[in-house]
Symmetry: C2
Subunit: 509 residues, 2 copies
């Protein structure tokens, strides 16, 4: 037995030693990255400019255009190469809010916290009308309201409950929770949607679509709906259309759950409610294209310099806050990561490219457009120029909480690599390597075509309470956490750029 064990132990040692040997970590470089990132952090200034200074950056909006220019200029200022604002194809119409006001006039004056839904039309001046409560539960219900809604304010019911928060709104992952994030459950969602439930949802959606059309035909002055959130925080729900077909919409505002509740209860109790509101919007029809902002630190290795390590985050946001956690945080961290590398004079073997994506919130348009154009067609499986050149794409889009680890999208082969690469950051709280997937953001565009695309496990802080809301602003951003994240990402990007081999991939096609 002893001999056998020795042989196994030795075999393991050589194999593991081999992995370790390959994943050389340049500790001096790690030290330099930490020193620059922590000692000379630009996170605060970047965060201020991306939120307060540039404002909400809705897909296609003037502010997003300004944000592209501002970030590109910043890249140039830092001496990055090949800075460009690169169109990925058509997006649609831009839309800016120029005025937004809503208040209750009767039974007494009260301000309402509410916002126009994105890409809905304006009210064409001040609307001043009684509110009609529209309760449409079947096709027949439309007849009850037909011909009565011209210029009126209508309220459509929302299923909202507001409960006290007996659990903290903000949290950090405990060691136990991080450990739990390593586990993978197979088939956990089976049976979530029963045929009955699906049929019901489809019927509801058909009714909703008919309602939208009905309100337009009736010439409703303003539609108001309640939305998730409480205590003055208003979540964004679905929106109008940025389609270039320019279909008109009913002006529509989503209002705080409590204010919705008040109007709803008053109407249900037979008490008339009068609303005054004004929404003015501006449509941008001069350029329907969507864009990403790209910049590089060029590779220096003769053979490897056409290869790429990419890092990115989406530049667009929703419109009622300033997109602090979603995703000025990710943009600031990624910008800071490449700034650190440039500042310490890194001469990478592979080219390092940062991408600030457009129109993520409408369906990962920027990253998918980039992948489609340069990497591969995820439908036809046609590979394009960069497909075998990108070693990895790193993405950040879960708020501003510090990095606690990385999601490896089921890629077993990279586990030992990242275990080694995270070692110098254990004391900074980052040591959870999970094979789990995480979805809903731009790394998915790369993963979908077999190119390693990764997101990070981040402390949630109060991300869940504030993202996609009017209160996703500068104050939500945890600046010291972001400083940590930038350092770690700079290190991973560096390691990926220097590694002898590109990162191992999952099989694709």
């Amino acid at each position: 037995m002893k001999n056998q064990l020795t042989i196994i132990a030795l075999a393991f040692f050589f194999w593991y030693g081999n992995v370790l040997a390959q994943e050389k970590v340049d500790l001096e470089m790690m030290y330099k990255i930490k020193s620059e990132g922590i000692g000379n952090s630009q996170i605060q200034d970047l965060s201020f400019h991306l939120t307060d200074f540039l404002g909400p950056r809705l897909s296609g909006s003037t502010n997003l255009r300004n944000a592209r220019t501002w970030t590109a200029d910043k890249f140039k200022e830092w001496g990055l190469s090949n800075v460009r604002i690169d169109s990925y194809g058509e997006f649609g119409r831009g839309w800016n809010v120029k005025k937004s006001y809503i208040a209750m006039k009767d039974p007494y004056y009260a301000q309402i916290i509410g916002y126009p839904k994105a890409w809905t039309d304006g009210t064409n001046g001040l609307v001043n009308s009684e509110v009609m409560l529209l309760e449409i539960n079947s096709e027949e219900d439309f007849n009850k309201y037909k011909g009565q809604l011209k210029g009126k304010v209508v309220l459509t019911p929302a299923n909202l409950t507001v409960n006290p928060a007996f659990e903290a709104e903000a949290k950090r992952w405990s060691e136990e929770e991080l450990e739990e994030r390593k586990t993978i459950t197979i088939g956990g969602n089976v049976g979530r949607y029963t045929p009955e439930l699906l049929a019901q949802l489809r019927a509801q959606r058909a009714l909703d679509q008919k309602l939208t059309q009905f309100l337009l035909e009736e010439g409703v002055g303003l539609r108001i709906t309640g939305t998730r959130g409480s205590f003055g925080t208003v979540f964004h729900t679905r929106a109008g259309s940025y389609s270039t077909e320019k279909n008109p919409t009913v002006p529509e505002m989503e209002i705080a759950a409590e204010h919705y509740g008040r109007i709803y209860r008053l109407l249900k109790n037979g008490k008339p409610v009068k609303i005054e509101a004004e929404v003015e919007v501006e449509w941008l029809d001069d350029d329907y294209r969507g864009y990403n902002v790209l910049a590089e630190i060029p590779g220096t290795d003769k053979t490897m310099k056409p290869e790429l390590v990419m890092l990115g985050a989406h530049l667009d946001s929703w419109h009622a806050g300033t997109g602090g956690n979603d995703n000025a945080a990710g943009v600031a961290v990624m910008m800071e990561a490449i700034r650190i590398l440039k500042a310490i004079g890194v001469q990478p073997r592979r080219t390092i490219r940062i991408a600030l994506w457009g129109e993520e919130e409408q369906g990962l348009y920027g990253s998918r457009g980039y992948v489609q154009q340069y990497v591969a067609d995820r439908n036809t499986k046609e590979k394009k120029g960069e497909w075998d050149k990108i070693s990895a794409y790193y993405n950040l889009d879960n708020g501003s909480g510090k990095i606690r680890g990385i999601y490896l999208e089921g890629n077993d082969m990279v586990v030992p690599v990242f275990e080694k690469w995270f070692e110098p950051f254990h004391e900074l709280g980052a040591n959870t390597i999970t094979r789990r997937n995480t979805g809903s953001t731009d790394h998915v565009a790369f993963d979908a075509v077999g190119v390693p695309g990764f997101q990070f496990i981040q402390d949630p802080i109060d991300y869940g309470k504030g993202y996609h809301t009017n209160m996703d602003v500068y104050e939500r951003m945890q600046l010291s956490d972001m400083t940590q994240a930038a350092v770690i990402i700079a290190a991973l990007v560096y390691n990926t750029a220097q590694r002898d081999e590109k990162l191992p991939r999952k099989p694709w096609n």
Copy 2:
């Protein structure tokens, strides 16, 4: 030793038995009160009407006037006696908001959550101006701005930090915390204000007052200040004046901390900010008196019917929410308590009188006015007609959380009484009898003249997060908790009305 202990034990038994004998609890009546209060609760309807229906009830406002009429009518509807809206003396000017709007125009359009400070003047139309950041730290600083502020929007710095909520916003007291509420620390506040700190505070206040006057003389268009709160919740701070001297004020709005922060940071970074705002207010000069609403279930005992048991809560609120937890909750509970007693046909020995106080938020004016007029002068110590007639006054003003016990204001003599009276409510979570004081609301007016005045220990839920804010509305009110509170108060009021003796008092004069 044994004999001695037996004697002590027997003595205790007889003394305690005596107390118990006196505190007869009519369990059938307790059962009836619970049945009516829980089975036929009007709490939801009362809560809706006091908040949504009547609106914010700022001292002296039209809505508060309406609230007096509405509650008095409700008392009449219930068959209560001697329903009257009783003036306690002069309060001051009424003030209503008729329009309130504020938004950032430059560097981009963004709505701002903000409210006029109470009793400040309107803007006289739309203000549209760059914002000047006023940093006044000494007398000399005024010269920097002199002659430059006419019609301008000015921002004065506020010391605000917005942190993530790592603790739950809402909570109930644990048994340990309740136990802790029984302990009393003597002299805990000694040395809180050092002479140096006091001098500093005084200097700051002098500067603040001078600033207020300066802004008025300069003809500032609008002053904006940041205020406590986050995520869209805006706390009220100090206000303008309801004084009948009609001193004009600068229009002033307090805005969400995040929106304040954005403007402040932009200005500090040299980026011009433009604000548009409009505030229209209405002053009421037809009646400067303040009022309480009173109603009764008359006593039936020949000797004891001139004696009183009182219960009450303040009807006024702040102006940007609808005063849900502060204090529609207390009003609804107290109204419900007397309704329960009336509904089950109680014929009390002593008269039961409910009082809904006016103008509590401006300094307990309603209750103090009542006490001054009918009970005693707290300065001259002159006793008036009701001084020796009121057995107890019960007050509720710590939100809508259920009752966990009672604060006895250091009155040792009533401890055994309430221990007995709370027994039937232990299963409802109410069993903490503390000698502690609690301040800042209307029972203080009675306690100050030696009449037993009590408040309750209530579960805080999210009272602390929402009271005195724009988000103190119907949704904050915990209706089932209030149902419990009404039942307990009805029982205590009943017991106090039936008790052979009035409740023992602390010595006064």
